[in-house]
C-alpha cells in the first residue's frame, strides 16, 4: 500500500443526509497522485453528460494532496472542483489555509458532496464522522460572520469553509472562503455549494497519516525549510507579499487597467508592497506549515468606512485596483474586504464591474439602468455594485451571470471588451502583447486564469514579438504549475524563493514509499491536463478551437498608452499560436486530444466508443 494518504474517500449524499466511505484506489494514487488529480479523475467518473452546473446531479470534489501538511513548507493547499456554472465545463480552484491537513487527519483523501439539501445545512466532519447542522439562521450571513459563528459554536480548532450571500443568490463566480480570507475563488465552486444549500463545511481531525519514512520526511522537510529561508527572494518578498510585484507589472505594461484598455496605472506606487505595509498591513498571516506567510491582514478604507480584511493579493490589486482605475491601496483593500465578506471571486467581480464602468463611460448603459453612475476610479460605486451583484438586485443580477452573459445581453459591441475566455473572466495580467501569456490564458483548462501557466517573464526574456519556443514553454508550465495543486503545495517556494521545482520529486519516497522521478510526475500532470480537456469536450457543446480564442480586444486594439502602446497580435497570429500548441500537445486542429495521445496517457476511457 502506498503511504502518505489518509486512506478514505468520503461521500456525502445531501438528498438523504447519509455518508459512506470507500478506500482510496491504489491505482489513483499512482496515476493521479491526489489534489487536482483526484478531483479530475472523480469528476470524469461521476459527472455524467447533460448534468446542469446548478442541478442536483452536479457534485463538489475536495481533495488534499499527498504532501499536504507533511513536514514540507508551504504545503497547505486544498483543491476544489465541480462542473462550473461560469463556463459549463471543468471547473476547479485551489485554496490555502489549514483545511487540507485537517481533512487528511480526519481520514479523508477525497470528499465528494452530492445531491441537494432541502434546507440550508452545515456539514460537520469530526474525525470522519458526518453530521449536519441547521444553517437557516445564518444562510444569508456574510462569510466572516458565518465562520466566526461556527468557530464559536464548535471551537477554534475546527477548520471551516463557508459561502457568502453571492453563492446563496446564484452569482456564477461565487467563491468558498476559509480562515477569514483564503478562498477557492475561481470557476464558481462556491455557487455550486450554494445550489446544494450547503452553507459551510466544518472539519476536525486527529488521526495519524502513515508515512513511509517519517524521519527521512522530517529531515527532508527541515532541509527544504532551511533552503527556503536562506534565499534572497524569501528575504525580499516575504515582508510585502505579492503586492511587491505591482511596480514591475505596471512598468512592463501587463497590469490590467481600466478594463484592460492599457497595461499600466498612473501612480502605481500607491498600490505597491511598501505602501501596503505602511497603510494596510497589521500582521502577517500564513497557511499550514508555511515559512513564507504571504497573507497580510489589515483594514481597508473608503470614504472613512473601515473594513478589516486579508490582503489584497496582487490579483485583487490588479482587478479591484488598476482595472477599476483605482490607485489607492486602502480603497482596494476595502473592496477586497467587500468581495470576501460577500463571497465573490475578486478577480471576476473586478473584471465584470470594470466592463460595466466602460459601458457607462461609453454610453452603452445609462446610470438609471445601472442604478447610479459608474466611473473608473469610483471605489464607492464599485463597492455598491458588488452588493447589488451578491444580492441579485437590479443590474447587479445581470452582472452576477458573468461578463460574457452580460455583454451578450447589452450588445452594442460591448462583447469586444468583455474580457473573458471560455466564460471565465481574465485575471491580473494584460497579455495582448505577450504571446506566451496570451496563449496561457487561451488554453487554460478552466478559462481565463493565470495560474496554470504564468509566462510573462518568458515573453520578456525571449522577446515579445518572437513566437519561437512560446508554445513549448506554455506546455511545460501547464504541467509544472498544476502539479503543485496535485501534490497539495504552494508554488511560492519556486516562483518566489527560487527552489527548483524538480526538488519536489525527492519527497515522494519518504512520504509515499515509492520512488518517483521528476519526469514521471510531469507525465501525471500531462495526464490530468488531457483529462480536464476531455471533461470540457464532454460537457460543453461545440467545445474546441473556438473556445480557446482570446477576447476581441486583444487582437483588435493596442494599448492606449504605456511601454507597449499600440501593440497587439492579429487573429491570424492567435491562430498560429494555437496551431503550434495543439501540435505539441498531440491534439487535432480543433484542439481535441487525439485517441493515440489519450491511449498513451492511459486515458483510454476518454476515447469515444
Amino acid at each position: 500500500m502506498i503511504s502518505g494518504y489518509a486512506g478514505q474517500t468520503l461521500r456525502i449524499n445531501l438528498n438523504n443526509r447519509q455518508s459512506s466511505t470507500s478506500p482510496t484506489p491504489e491505482s489513483w494514487k499512482k496515476e493521479y497522485l491526489g489534489g487536482r488529480g483526484f478531483v479530475a479523475r472523480a469528476f470524469w467518473e461521476e459527472i455524467k453528460p447533460g448534468t446542469l452546473p446548478l442541478g442536483p446531479e452536479n457534485k463538489i470534489f475536495i481533495a488534499p494532496g499527498p504532501y499536504s501538511g507533511q513536514f514540507l513548507s508551504s504545503s497547505g493547499k486544498l483543491h476544489f472542483g465541480a462542473l462550473s456554472p461560469a463556463t459549463g465545463g471543468y471547473g476547479d480552484s485551489n485554496m490555502g489555509g489549514h483545511m487540507s491537513l485537517e481533512l487528511k487527519q480526519a481520514g479523508i483523501d477525497l470528499l465528494i458532496i452530492e445531491g441537494m439539501a432541502d434546507t440550508p445545512v452545515t456539514i460537520v466532519i469530526d474525525n470522519g464522522a458526518v453530521s449536519f447542522r441547521d444553517a437557516s439562521a445564518y444562510w444569508e450571513s456574510d462569510t466572516y460572520v458565518s465562520e466566526r459563528r461556527l468557530k464559536e459554536e464548535l471551537g477554534e480548532e475546527w477548520q471551516i469553509a463557508v459561502i457568502g450571500p453571492a453563492a446563496v443568490h446564484g452569482v456564477v463566480y461565487a467563491c468558498i472562503q476559509h480562515d477569514f480570507g483564503r478562498q477557492a475563488g475561481r470557476t464558481g465552486v462556491g455557487t455550486v455549494m450554494g445550489s446544494k444549500k450547503v452553507k459551510a463545511i466544518a472539519v476536525r481531525g486527529s488521526k495519524d497519516i502513515p508515512l513511509a519514512n517519517p524521519r527521512a520526511a522530517l529531515a527532508a522537510g527541515e532541509k527544504f525549510m532551511d533552503a527556503v529561508m536562506k534565499q534572497p527572494g524569501y528575504t525580499h518578498w516575504q515582508p510585502y507579499g505579492t503586492p511587491e510585484v505591482v511596480p514591475w507589472a505596471s512598468g512592463v505594461g501587463v497590469m490590467p487597467t481600466r478594463n484592460f484598455q492599457t497595461g499600466q496605472i498612473e501612480g502605481y506606487n500607491g498600490l505597491n508592497g511598501p505602501t501596503m505595509k505602511e497603510k494596510v498591513t497589521e500582521i502577517d498571516k500564513g497557511c499550514t506549515s508555511c515559512a513564507i506567510p504571504c497573507g497580510k491582514w489589515g483594514p481597508g478604507v473608503v470614504n472613512g468606512k473601515v473594513k478589516p480584511q486579508e490582503g489584497p493579493e496582487y490579483e485583487s490589486i490588479a482587478l479591484l485596483g488598476s482595472n477599476l482605475g483605482i490607485n489607492d491601496i486602502q480603497q482596494v483593500a476595502y473592496l477586497n474586504g467587500v468581495c470576501d465578506e460577500l463571497g465573490l471571486d475578486s478577480i471576476s467581480a473586478g473584471n465584470v464591474v470594470a466592463w460595466a464602468m466602460e459601458c457607462y463611460e461609453k454610453g452603452y448603459v445609462a446610470a438609471e439602468e445601472l442604478g447610479r453612475p459608474m466611473r473608473f476610479g469610483d471605489a464607492e460605486a464599485a463597492a455598491w455594485m458588488f452588493e447589488e451583484i451578491a444580492y441579485g438586485r437590479g443590474f447587479g443580477k445581470l452582472l452576477g451571470q458573468g461578463v460574457k452573459a452580460a455583454a451578450a445581453k447589452v450588445g452594442r459591441g460591448s462583447e469586444t471588451f468583455a474580457m473573458q475566455i471560455k466564460g471565465l473572466e481574465i485575471s491580473g495580467y494584460e497579455a495582448r502583447y505577450a504571446p506566451a501569456m496570451m496563449l496561457s490564458y487561451m488554453t487554460c483548462d478552466v478559462g481565463g486564469h493565470h495560474n496554470r501557466s504564468w509566462a510573462v517573464t518568458f515573453d520578456i526574456a525571449t522577446g515579445r514579438e518572437n513566437f519561437e519556443g512560446k508554445a513549448e514553454r506554455v506546455v511545460w508550465l501547464q504541467h509544472v504549475r498544476p502539479l503543485y495543486d496535485t501534490l497539495g503545495c504552494c508554488r511560492f517556494p519556486w516562483v518566489e524563493a527560487g527552489i527548483e521545482p524538480s526538488t519536489y520529486a525527492d519527497f515522494m519516497e519518504p512520504i509515499t514509499g515509492v520512488k518517483w522521478t521528476w519526469d514521471e510526475l510531469l507525465t501525471v500532470s500531462e495526464r490530468i491536463w488531457n483529462l480536464t480537456r476531455m471533461i470540457s469536450v464532454r460537457h460543453v457543446p461545440g467545445f474546441g478551437r473556438a473556445s480557446d480564442l482570446p477576447p476581441a480586444r486583444w487582437t483588435l486594439e493596442g494599448h492606449v498608452d504605456g511601454p507597449t502602446a499600440g501593440k497587439h497580435f492579429t487573429p491570424a497570429q492567435a491562430d498560429e499560436l494555437l496551431d503550434r500548441y495543439y501540435a505539441l500537445r498531440g491534439w487535432d486542429s480543433n484542439g481535441i486530444p487525439r485517441a493515440e495521445k489519450l491511449q498513451e496517457l492511459n486515458l483510454g476511457f476518454c476515447v469515444a466508443k
Partner: protein, 77 residues
C-alpha cells in the same frame, strides 16, 4: 573591475549559462542596466535588483566586486 551576477527564482531557467553566480568583467563603472545589457538580460525582466542586500534601481552603479542579485517577479493571489 567586475561584479558578481546572481539570478534567483524562475528567471534562472531562461539563462542556462547563468545557473551559478557569474563574474561579469567591466571596462569601467557601469549602471545595473548596462551590466544586464552586457549579460544579455532585458533590463525590465527582474522583479527587483539587490546590491549589498539593498534594493537598487537600474541606474545604480555597483562598486567593484559587489554582488548583484536579480530576483524573479512573482505571481499569485
Amino acid at each position: 573591475m567586475y561584479v558578481i551576477l546572481r539570478l534567483e527564482g524562475h528567471i534562472r531557467e531562461f539563462y542556462p549559462h547563468l545557473q551559478e553566480p557569474t563574474t561579469i568583467f567591466l571596462s569601467r563603472p557601469a549602471t545595473v542596466a548596462e551590466i544586464l545589457g552586457q549579460a544579455g538580460i532585458p533590463a525590465e525582466l527582474p522583479g527587483a535588483v539587490l546590491c549589498g542586500k539593498l534594493r537598487v534601481g537600474l541606474d545604480h552603479v555597483p562598486e567593484d566586486g559587489q554582488e548583484l542579485v536579480l530576483l524573479s517577479p512573482l505571481a499569485g493571489g
